[in-house]
């Protein structure tokens, strides 16, 4: 099964009268990871919500896994149950049960193997984000939309989890919002910079090489400078 491409055609994104995007057309290639960069408030989250079918009048292109900017853990569920929330919500007891080992494995990989039964409020900010990441990955969807998924993580954990995400999301259609140009360069098959009000997407930037790329690669460092430059002038 190959993951579908996502496309936005002549879309208008308007929030309470604020025009975020006008007549927007945009393609996200199937089976690949697209990283969205852009100044704060430009409309990255809004675009992601548009893709997820969460804005009025929109529908998702297919089943999606959506990781929002907030972790949205349910305070009354244990970490484990939060991670298999999708199965709880959709499924019968069997499906939920079957999701258990997968959820446990994912939690172990994000470093929360010892906190399966903890309630979210006993976790640190980064631990909560990791739980939310595990929940998103546990969904096992062909389309994955992630909004700043590693923002609360230290450099090392972030590096490891980028690897994990790249590995588990290989072959899926991923749209990821990030503020870290280097992260975009490590993980993105394509990178798009959004700029302006209403925003317009910049040209596709496609670094060479397989993801996850080595951040020490001089090509990437050069591109990073270019990205920051574009962010500066665009914003």
């Amino acid at each position: 099964m190959s993951s579908p491409a996502l496309s936005v055609r002549s879309a208008h994104i308007v929030l309470d009268g604020h025009v975020v995007a006008e007549n927007l057309s945009l393609e996200f290639p199937g089976g690949r990871t697209t990283c969205l960069l852009g100044r704060s408030g430009v409309g990255k989250t809004s675009l992601l919500r548009h893709l997820a079918g969460l804005l009025p009048g929109t529908a998702p292109a297919g089943p999606v896994a959506y990781m929002a900017q907030r972790d949205l853990l349910l305070p009354w569920l244990s970490v484990l149950d939060n991670v298999r929330l999708g199965h709880r919500l959709r499924g019968d007891a069997a499906a939920r049960h079957a999701a258990g080992p997968r959820a446990r494995a994912l939690l172990a990989e994000v470093g929360l193997g010892h906190h399966l039964d903890a309630l979210p409020q006993t976790l640190s900010g980064g631990m909560r984000q990791r739980a939310a990441l595990a929940r998103t990955l546990c969904e096992d969807r062909q389309i994955v939309l992630m909004d700043e998924p590693f923002g609360h993580l230290d450099a090392v954990t972030r590096f490891d989890l980028q690897d994990l995400a790249a590995r588990l999301l290989r072959g899926r259609t991923v749209v990821m919002v990030t503020h870290d140009p280097l992260e975009a360069l490590r993980l993105g098959h394509e990178i798009r910079i959004l700029s302006g009000t209403p925003f317009v997407p910049g040209p596709v930037i496609a670094p060479s090489g397989a993801v996850p790329r080595d951040p020490a690669d001089p090509e990437l460092l050069a591109l990073q400078a270019r990205l920051i430059g574009e962010l500066r002038t665009g914003g």
């Binding site: 929330l85 709880r88 919500l89 959709r90």
Partner: protein
Amino acid sequence: MRPLVTALGLLAGWELLVWLARLPPYILPPPSRVAVVLMERRALLLEQAAWTGAEMMLGLALGLLLGAALAVLFAASAGWRRWALPLVIVSQAIPVIAVAPLLVLWLGYGMASKVAMAALVIFFPVVSSLYDGLRRTDPGWLELARTMDASPRAVLLQIRLPAALPAFASGARIAAAVAPIGAVIGEWVGASAGLGFLMTQSLARGQTPLAFAALFVLCLLGLALYVATDRLARRLVPWQPIQGD
């Protein structure tokens, strides 16, 4: 220990009030006099309290159940909301004397009609609070559930309902506090027993101290039920920090 001090303090306040306002005992008997009656008539009071207590507990149980069920229905279905919500609101405006004959006709003079009447008074805070809570779920959670293809039913039961438990607890507290008066109102419907009946009868006979002894027992029952409900309500929402005690 502290609640005891409070209780004694409040009784002293009552005695003082009677004394300062020079209230005659047939209007408001002093606690000292009520205490004497309380001792003398303890068998009678206990027997009536058992009745009223049973009505209160049954009424509260029924009220909580019915209230929760209706709130969930209203949150789930626009149809129910449209047809039954006005009825539920209007039901609160109906005085017992108007429906008493109807209730008796359907449920007889036994305990059922009294409990039904009590539940009618008790269930409303629960419906109202819980329904309010169910309408105020964090939109982020609902969106998350939507991307997870959750059925409306699953969203309701697994997200909106747990998220609304603090609101339910709030409603349950009010329900517990009005349960005694619910039971007394229920006793309007064909009762020849219970603290409410005892009160009416003693007031008619000019035995105000006995009426107030019954009222005192009723208040004790009410407080006990409230404290128990409050405890349970807190347990219901262990993840929510409560300030101030």
